[in-house]
Symmetry: C2
Subunit: 297 residues, 2 copies
C-alpha cells in the first residue's frame, strides 16, 4: 500500500481536500544500531527504535512534548489535537510544520483554539503506555458516542486480521520495543502505525483518518498490540470503530468504557485463540472448531 | 516476606521513624471476575486486574489523578511526590489519607510545597506506560546523580533474580495486564509491586524505600517487566539503584540516560538469556556457558 497516495496533502485547487491543513513530510530514521553484550559475554549489534521529543506549539504557544518514534509526526500532531478534543476537525488547522532539527511541531490554526488554557488544565495520568496525560474531560464525551449497532466481526475475519499483522513488516521485528496499531476496513489493512508510545500510534491513525476525504465504507476494525486501556477504547470509539482486537488483555476502566459505548473488545488474540471481554454479540462464530468424533478403538 | 513488618508506620515514640508521615492502610480488591466468551463461543470466567482512579490533593489543592491497581496507594503517593521532585523527603509530609470510597488521597505537608503551580506546569508526555506526565525538569537533575562506581552484578545473581520473579506469586499470574517492579538487595527480594501502570509500580517502591530507616546495605538491583524507558532509568538512578533488569527492551532515551548516569541496563532477560545495553563493565560473567567439545565420531 502506498500511503503517499492516500495522504493527499492539499493538492492545489481540489475540493474538499483543499481545506485540509498544509503538512510537512518530515523524515527521520526509525531505528539505530546499538552494540550490546549478550549472555556469553560477546559483543553484537542489534537495532533499537528511535525515540525523539516533539514539542507542540499551537499558535506559538507551547502545549506539550510527545516522545515519539517519528514515523508520521504531522498525522500524530493532528490526531493528538483531535483526540484531546482541542480541535473538532483537521480543517481548523491551517498548517503543521515539523522540524526534527529542533524537535518542534508548529501548529497554526485558522481561528485559534478557544479557552486553550482552561481545556488543558485538568490532568489525569492514565494507565496506557505513553501519552498518559489526557487533558480534561475525555470521559465526559463518552456518552455522546454512537457506534453502529449492526456492526459485526466474523471469527474468520478476526483470524485474517491477526495473521495480516503477524506477517506485516515492522519496526517491531527489526528493533522490538514499539507498539503497533492498525486500521482495517472490511479486512483490508488501511494503515499500520508503530510508535514507542502506543497512544501516539492510535493518535497517528486518527490524524490520518481525519485527512481522508473518502474513507472506504465497511466494517472498521482496530488492532493494537497493547492492552485495552480506557484511553485506547475511548479513542477507538471516537474514531467510529466498533471493534478492537488486542494481543494483550484489558484493564477494568477499558472494560467499563467498552461496555458503556457498545464496543466489542477482543483480547489475547494470537493464532486462533481469543477472548471477547465485552459485547460478544458482535462476533459471528463462523469458524467454530469441529469436534472430532472420539475414535472407538 | 511480611511487608507490614517493614512499613513501620510511625510507631509512637521511636526515632527516626517517628518523623515518618502518618499513613492510612487503605485496602482494595486487586482483581475482579469477568465472564468472557472464548474462541469456541463458550462462556468462561477469568479475572482481570482492578483499575481505579486516585486523585491526589496536596494541602487541599488537586494535583493529579493516578489510575492504579490500588495495592499500596499510600506508598504510591509518596513515591509519586518524590519522583516528581515535589518533595525532597517523606519527612516533609505529615500524613497521607487514602479513601477508596471517594478515590482520593489527601496529602498534608508540614510546610507546604514551594512554587507548586510553577513546578507542575511543564508537561512532557513520555513513552513509558502510565504516568506519562512527568512534571518539569526531571532530566535536569540527571547529572547530579552519582551511582556507586564499584557496583557489580554477577551473572549468577542475574539468573537468580529472573528466577525469583518467575516463581513469585502475582496478580499478573492471576489476571494478567499488570506490570511488576521489584527491588533486590544482595539478591534478596525486598519488595515486589504490581500496578496497571508500571510507573506506579516503581513509584510505590520509591515511596516504600523512603520510609525505611534501615534499608539493608548491599548491591541494589531493580527488576521491571516493562521496557527500559527514560523514566524507568531516571527513577532507578534517583533511588540509588545502579543496575536495572528488564524482561523487555530499551528505548533510545532510556539508553541515553543509562549511559549518562552509568547505570547498567540489562534487557531481554528470560531464562538464561539477556542483553546488556549499557555499562556492561558492571557485569561479572561468572556463569559463562561451557563450550562443549565437538564429538569426533
Amino acid at each position: 500500500m502506498n500511503l503517499a497516495d492516500l495522504s493527499c496533502l492539499t493538492p492545489a485547487g481540489s475540493t474538499p481536500l483543499s481545506v485540509n491543513p498544509r503538512l510537512t513530510q518530515a523524515q527521520a530514521e526509525l531505528t539505530r544500531p546499538l552494540s550490546v553484550i549478550d549472555e556469553t559475554g560477546q559483543s553484537r549489534t542489534i537495532r533499537i527504535p528511535a525515540e525523539r521529543g516533539l514539542t507542540l506549539y499551537v499558535d506559538k504557544r507551547e502545549l506539550v512534548t510527545l516522545m515519539t518514534l517519528g514515523a508520521h509526526p504531522e498525522w500524530l500532531v493532528l490526531g493528538y489535537l483531535l483526540n484531546q478534543r482541542l480541535i473538532g476537525s483537521v480543517r481548523e488547522v491551517e498548517s503543521v510544520t515539523v522540524d526534527w532539527d529542533v524537535g518542534a511541531a508548529a501548529v497554526r490554526t485558522r481561528d485559534g483554539i478557544a479557552r486553550i488554557e482552561e481545556r488543558t488544565a485538568r490532568r489525569v495520568v492514565t494507565t496506557g503506555c505513553g501519552q498518559g496525560s489526557v487533558f480534561g474531560a475525555l470521559m465526559d464525551d463518552v456518552d455522546r458516542i454512537a457506534l453502529p449497532p449492526e456492526a459485526r466481526l466474523r471469527q474468520s475475519q478476526l483470524y485474517d486480521i491477526v495473521n495480516t499483522i503477524r506477517v506485516h513488516d515492522s519496526t517491531y521485528k527489526a528493533a522490538g520495543s514499539v507498539h503497533a496499531c492498525a486500521l482495517f476496513v472490511d479486512n483490508r489493512l488501511l494503515l499500520f502505525v508503530e510508535d514507542v508510545g502506543r497512544h501516539n500510534a492510535v493518535d497517528t491513525i486518527a490524524g490520518w483518518m481525519a485527512l481522508q476525504a473518502d474513507l472506504p465504507r465497511g466494517e472498521r476494525v482496530f488492532y493494537t498490540t497493547g492492552r485495552l486501556t480506557s484511553e485506547m477504547v475511548i479513542k477507538s470509539a471516537q474514531m467510529g470503530v466498533p471493534v478492537v482486537i488486542s494481543r494483550s488483555g484489558i484493564t477494568e476502566m477499558g472494560l467499563h468504557v467498552a461496555q458503556r459505548v457498545g464496543l466489542c473488545a477482543v483480547g489475547r488474540a494470537t493464532n486462533r485463540r481469543f477472548l471477547c471481554f465485552a459485547n460478544a454479540h458482535r462476533i459471528v462464530f463462523d469458524e467454530l472448531p469441529v469436534t472430532e468424533p472420539v475414535a472407538t478403538a
